[in-house]
Subunit: 451 residues, 2 copies
């Protein structure tokens, strides 16, 4: 990398007219100290973790929690007690008891960390009762559910934020910073995905969360109880948001740009069956289960402004973890798996990869620089700190840096990729959930050191 | 990586029933010392290089060469003279003079290194005159041309080999070796592509081959004279074979497997225009040229045995060179850009990438070990030595390790990707050029230390 002075000249002369200051003004009030009341639906392992982070804020009251599992509820109560929070009311009377909580409690916001198919009905119920929503990924499972979230949000004026924590990963935010400063030129192509060997998550012995057996469904524990069934029933990109979430603000999705169509292609399904045979033996009853989800699902998305996005979903086989990030423009390219980038005019040697580290340091995002100490130890490399903080600020009424349109445009890819695969990789149109407003909506995410 | 003994146990217990010795017997006669007569059509820079490699074989006679450019012909004649070969007859009377050469000369084989659109008619003419063919990539530009090559080859009994040198890259052959020994388990997904900043190839000053100006077509020199026009006229993966060639034998394409359909998606086209503006100024006449080919073209292919292949074509923007290789199976994964692999049960640390180097060394292909000294300095990291040698052996009558079906199944992807992009990424069926024989054809490439 050339020295800082040259680099600044470079940026000055090549930066595209950006939106770097747009909306930042309206974020000046945050973080605020306003008191806020939130509840948690779903106190499993993820819910407990987010609860523990939210409980650190003195201005956050947590008057109610909701789950159907007494073990998980007990763990959540312990977390709140240790954080010095008053004991919350507990809603535990079955699957639909969240409705009683929502209609009874006076809440600013609800955080949802339940099995995927509950996210949509819970979010809708909360918004209809005048509560802001933070939902774990994905926000919804079908196109109709996505539209329902949008309509409900628009009708109620409540936001449905998706808790896509990877948007706040430190390297991602540095790259976003570089994109916004024009270092990559005009973006052409991005890649992302979810490449994570989840076999020990999808199967366990019914007693521990990770591994130790090949059970799932009723005999499984934690995510294996419900998540694995999606691999039985559905062939598609089941988990697109970790890859797509971080890319979306770089490409201005829903804000000057949008995704117009996709194609998906699945490989054969082998890994989960093989795992059962290897760990449970060829006589285990689960060897009879037929898994519909292809081991590697590749989705290619075309954007209104011309860019292509490649997403990969790859969770059933031995492989190192990687979210497959690549960001490429007319001026340069970043590729995470190689920990490398190349920027024409900046990189010392033409045609040679350069270590990403000095760039990530120099373009470290102001938000990270400001809150680095708070983020340390907050989970998933610190990004959980930021996503929880953004949710709490949204509950207080801050401008939604991740909104319902982001939630559904990230989430709908699953349903559409299933359709495409069923139809032999046919291109499927992606709905414009903003109904044309993407043309004039301005960027907001990552444009200040506030949210 | 665990020690060799453990590794051998691993291979013994996990290797799939392979084809590792099939056909190898019939290759035992090679290399032979049989005399062979070949001609060269196209004595541009690539043709000259291959000519210089072929001229090293004492048993190879080169009685004729053909081109329309006197400068290039003079260079070729010099190469042959310096190699101690007799002066060949020169066919130089215009574009169609190759037909006179083919009908006049007594030849075993013809090597073709002309602009792309000449490969098909020249290959057909040579086969119809009882000559074997080695053609530079791609073998043909349209689906009909591909069928024509197949029909002609079948009718004449002559082979049309494609000179896909990357098939012989040392790391590729080591990975192929590992695939054949079952280290990756059952393959699920492969990636490849052509990611090479060609702006200095597509444009020059008309006097030098690389760069120095923004001219192309009649005002350009070498490849810029004809190659650049393809980026003006066609939107698709213009150059799929460097990525697809090496992957094909790993997946058993045309030999137990085949590619059944593809989708292609192109990004916007920006890089070539930008280059003209940057290097030639905004007043240069070429700024008026509209380039049809998207800067990044992503093609996803589905195979009969279930696997998916992702190819990327990316030649118009600043970026380090990479052929984007990834090979992934039920047991492990190799990813070139990270120079890493992971094999379950072999890699020391679960979920951690491991340096590829010790594996590439241990599984170095027998062919490379045998001919390493010959390959050094033979161009493109030595792989040109092997592809030229394979061509010469084919001209002598050796079993074709890369045949006409390989030539067209690699090449047809360009035409089909153009169709898919024109139709909004619609899935396009890939013809079965073997007409069902892929089911019983056995693997041959890379299965011995002979060819």
């Amino acid at each position: 990398m050339v020295n800082t002075i040259n680099r600044r000249d470079f940026i000055k002369t090549t930066a595209v007219a950006g939106t770097a200051t747009t909306m930042a003004g309206s974020l000046l009030a945050y973080p605020s100290q306003k008191r806020v009341k939130m509840a948690v639906i779903g106190t499993g392992l993820r819910g407990q973790w987010v609860l523990s982070l939210a409980a650190k804020y003195p201005e956050v009251d947590i008057p109610a929690i909701c789950d159907i599992d007494e073990t998980m509820l007990a763990a959540a109560l312990k977390i709140l007690k240790e954080a010095g929070k008053p004991e919350p009311r507990v809603y535990r009377r079955g699957d639909e008891d969240f409705r009683r909580m929502i209609s009874t409690e006076d809440l600013d916001g609800v955080y949802i960390a339940t099995p995927w198919h509950w996210h949509h009905p819970m979010a809708v119920a909360a918004m209809k009762n005048g509560m802001q929503v933070g939902t774990e990924v994905p926000a919804a499972l079908t196109v109709e559910e996505c539209w329902d979230l949008v309509r409900t949000s628009e009708q109620t004026g409540m936001n449905c934020m998706i808790m896509e924590n990877v948007c706040y990963r430190r390297d991602i935010m540095a790259i976003l910073n570089m994109v916004q400063q024009g270092l990559f030129g005009e973006l052409l192509h991005c890649q992302g995905g979810y490449q994570h060997d989840l076999r020990h998550v999808k199967f366990n012995n019914g007693e521990q969360a990770y591994g130790g057996g090949v059970e799932f469904g009723e005999k499984g524990f934690s995510e294996a109880r419900w998540r694995t069934q999606h691999s039985v029933d559905r062939n598609g990109d089941l988990y697109p948001t970790h890859g797509l979430g971080p890319i979306s603000p770089m490409l201005g999705i829903n804000r000057g740009n949008r995704m117009v169509r996709l194609t998906s292609t699945a490989s054969q399904a082998r890994g989960l069956h093989q795992y059962i045979v290897d760990k449970g033996g060829s006589e285990h009853p689960n060897t009879e289960v037929e898994f519909k989800c292809g081991d590697i699902v590749t989705t290619v998305i075309k954007c209104a402004n011309g860019q292509s996005i490649v997403l990969s979903h790859d969770t059933n086989n031995p492989r190192p973890y990687s979210l497959n990030f690549r960001v490429q423009g007319t001026q340069g390219i970043w590729q995470k798996d190689a920990r490398s980038l190349y920027i024409e005019g900046l990189s010392d040697q033409p045609h040679r990869w350069e270590d990403e580290a000095p760039y990530l340091e120099e373009f470290d995002h102001p938000l990270w620089q400001r809150f680095e100490e708070n983020a340390v130890g907050a989970g998933h490399g610190g990004m959980d700190y930021f996503i929880v903080r953004a949710m709490i600020e949204t509950f207080k009424g801050a401008p939604p840096v991740i909104d319902v349109y982001d939630a559904v445009s990230m989430s709908v890819v699953s349903a559409l990729s299933e359709q495409s695969i069923t139809q032999g990789s046919a291109p499927i149109d992606i709905p414009d959930f903003t109904r044309g407003k993407w043309r004039t909506n301005v960027s907001i995410f990552g444009l200040s050191d506030r949210l």
